[in-house]
Amino acid sequence: MELTLPQKDALTELINIGYGRAAGALSELTGFRVTLQVPKITMHRIDQIGNLLAHLIEGEVASVNQVFSGPIAGNALLMLDKQAAQALTRLLCDDNSLTNSFESAEQEIITEVGNILLNACLGVFGNLLQVHVTFSVPRLQVSDVGGVLRSITVESDELQYGLMIHTRFQLRASNLTGYLVIVLGITSFDRMRRELDNWELRQTQ
């Protein structure tokens, strides 16, 4: 099962709208101009996501994970490699006292950033696709890619798909890359495609 080109375009546009909102929130929060870009969106079977990410991220990752429910239900994750996570906390916080550790304070920052990003993204989804989505409390995990994926994989007979959104943070002359992964069951995926088509239709009307 694949996304059609118009569906992919619609999805990219929606996510960009969400990221615009998130970037605004982050800029307001930190007092620096933060921009978020989506260079690429890809769709994979859930069992392929692990390998794909393992190639992109080495070692430990900091991941913020939020379960969402409603007509479209699933699990959304923001993954940053540890260096990027540390760099991001330092850049956001503007606090030189933060050292190279990745302790509670730093973990909280990443959780909040992840929360803003995931909510903005899925919220816009909900609004524009006209489906109501509710969220769980974000959860931060520091582990390798495999560990993160294992912990979010739901026991389900349903075929699951992962929507991988390559994300580039730009702030204070630095570039950091993260990955936003939205895991959807086939039913939700189907529903999302339908809603994307509807949205596309509404846009052209």
Binding site: A25, T99, A105, E108
Partner: protein, 607 residues
């Protein structure tokens, strides 16, 4: 909303829709170590737990029913109200301490937080009932303790980093005190230090001299340039070799702190710089604003001082070592010069002596020849007119004068050999031997036998010829009475098994006694040894060394003539040519003399 009037603290009980959450929140509020409050969709506070009441000093009665924005205007000013709006849209918001410090301005639970506010992390979630969002639920965690600990840890890490960086600099520095001056601006900020002073300790004068300083004006530097050891804190630290850490300096009445008080310092720490018994000076740090240093800071500064002392000690020792080495090498070169001078003087003396002996021998020859000639004429022409005793005396006189002539001639040869500039060229030993034999007047016909090709050596023709002639002469002179002299010449290659004909030749007469006396050749490597073996009277073992000295004659038959210089000439000539010589002999069994020289390179013929 229902106010039953019984609950003055804790979450307010409410009619639907809040009642479904009321039971759960009711016990959560009692056991959870968190601040928990709820609002309705207009952000009017509806529940306020005991934790919050205690921490904020505002009871539930005081806050329930009031708008969050009215109660905490600071929340809106900081834009945090948007997170409540997000919750009303169904989102869950998490607020990090590092980004927001706190959600509600509550007083600090512990005294160590400089801002005086409780540091918080918060979660703001939608409150839902029957799939409808009816308000918000906020949970606040007090993370002040955690953050204070983290800050302490971070400071410790920062200290460690600064310390290792500073110590690294000091230890590798050529000029440790200049390094302290470089380090100071880097540590001044984190440690909140305003001033540093480095004094050198001058033991003889019992005073401290300011060497370098930071954070003080040039004027102050001038006033501090020399301090008496006796009446200052730095002096006391230097003398006792103990640090002095002074707090509340301005309030102190200690006379030793007079200088620090005058400078306006409020805290002051002096560290002696010493290694073993040697006190180099002091390093001190002061603050204009702080009344005391913490233990950590004192420890930090003490380490800096300690390493500075080690580094100063090291550089001083290095410079002393360097001086000692320079002195030693100067001394060695002086010695060399002196030896060279003395050697030159010695060489000159030897040359003068040799020149003198040559002159003497040379100048003596003419009168000796006159003496010999006239004695000869007297004996031949006027013997008939002389009585027999006179004739006999004249005959003795003639023998003595001839002997004198031979002696001076040999002396002349010896000194010539000694003085001669040697130039080594390839010499064919067979050919030279034949030439010597044919020119010799003393050698009986057929006395010399040459065994095999003798080979070629690097030598000076005249010197080697002289050596061979002297040895043949010796063999004839010291022949056994009644036995005509038989001389055999052969050669062997030594020090290498290279296939030269001489080396391949077997030794027909293996030496029956090993060499006891020899002059070792100067160079190593292959040598060609030429043996001159006779059947004469031989030489006693005890005399093997003596024979090579000048004028050394060993007792023998009185009939044997000789000047005692012949072998000395051989030894000297061989030495001049970088070769060696020796003898193997047993009395009554002849003598085997040998001469050793470097073999000449093979001549490669085009044929």
């Amino acid at each position: 909303m229902m106010d039953d009037g019984q609950t003055t603290t804790g979450l307010r009980r409410a009619r639907d829709p809040f009642s479904t959450h009321e039971a759960m929140l009711g016990w959560v509020r009692d056991i959870a170590p968190y601040g928990i409050f709820t609002t309705d969709t207009r952000l009017i506070i509806r529940g306020w737990n005991e934790w919050l009441a205690t921490r904020s000093g505002l009871s539930a009665d005081e806050v329930v029913g009031r708008s969050l924005a009215d109660l905490f205007p600071d929340l809106v000013a900081r834009g945090l109200d948007q997170h409540f709006e997000r919750a009303l849209r169904g989102e869950v918001a998490v607020l990090a301490t590092a980004l927001h410090r706190y959600l509600l301005p509550l007083p600090c639970s512990i005294g160590e937080n400089p801002s005086g506010r409780m540091l918080q992390t918060a979660r703001i979630a939608p409150l839902a009932s029957d799939d409808q969002i009816v308000g918000t639920l906020t949970i606040i965690e007090d993370v002040t303790q955690r953050e204070v600990h983290a800050a302490v840890l971070r400071r410790q890490q920062e200290y460690d980093r600064l310390l290792s960086e500073s110590l690294g600099r000091l230890i590798s520095s050529e000029d440790p005190i200049a390094s302290v001056a470089e380090i100071f601006p880097r540590i001044a900020g984190p440690l909140r230090i305003d001033v540093y002073l480095h004094f050198q300790f001058i033991a003889d004068e019992q005073e401290l001299r300011l060497h370098s300083a930071g954070g003080v004006t040039a004027e102050v530097k001038r006033t501090l340039s020399v301090l008496p050891v006796a009446s200052t804190a730095s002096g006391a630290a230097a003398l006792s070799r103990r640090p002095r850490v002074e707090s509340h300096v301005q309030q102190s009445e200690d006379p030793l702190l007079e200088t620090s008080r005058r400078l306006g310092l409020r805290s002051y720490a002096v560290f002696p710089l010493f290694a073993g018994d040697r006190v180099f000076g002091t390093l001190s740090f002061g603050s204009y604003v702080r009344d005391a240093f913490t233990t950590d800071e004192v420890e930090f500064l003490a380490k800096i001082a300690q390493y500075a002392a080690i580094a100063i000690d090291r550089t001083q020792r290095e410079s002393e070592l360097h001086d000692a080495q320079a002195r030693l090498s100067r001394h060695a070169s002086e010695l060399e010069t002196r030896i060279a001078e003395r050697t030159a003087v010695l060489h000159e003396t030897i040359a003068q002596l040799e020149s003198f002996s040559y002159t003497v021998a040379h100048d003596l020859r003419a009168p000796i020849r006159s003496l010999t000639s006239f004695t000869d004429i007297l004996l031949n022409d006027f013997a008939a007119d002389m009585p027999m005793p006179a004739q006999d005396m004249l005959a003795r006189l003639l023998r003595a004068s001839r002997r004198l002539d031979a002696l001076t001639k040999d002396l002349l040869t010896f000194s010539r050999v000694a003085r001669e500039e040697v130039k080594l060229v390839p010499i064919d030993v067979d050919e030279l031997t034949r030439e010597i034999v044919s020119h010799s007047s003393s050698l009986p016909e057929g006395a010399v036998t040459v065994v095999g090709p003798l080979g070629r050596v690097l030598a000076q023709r005249t010197l080697l010829g002289q050596c061979l002639a002297n040895l043949f002469d010796n063999a004839v002179k010291f022949a056994r009475p009644g036995f005509p002299p038989v001389i055999q010449v052969r050669s062997e290659l030594r020090g290498s098994a290279a296939g030269s004909p001489a080396a391949a030749a077997p030794n027909p007469n293996p030496p029956f006694q090993t060499a006891l006396s020899s002059i070792a050749p100067r160079a190593t490597g292959p040598r060609l040894r030429v043996w001159i073996e006779d059947n004469g009277i031989g030489i006693a073992r005890t005399d093997h060394e003596k024979i090579w000295g000048i004028f050394e004659r060993i007792p023998g038959p009185s009939a044997v003539e000789g000047t005692g210089i012949g072998l000395a000439i051989v030894a000297r000539a061989m030495q001049q040519m970088g070769g060696g010589c020796g003898v193997e002999s047993t009395p009554g069994h002849g003598s085997h003399f040998w001469l050793e020289l470097i073999p000449a390179p093979e001549v490669t013929s085009a044929a």
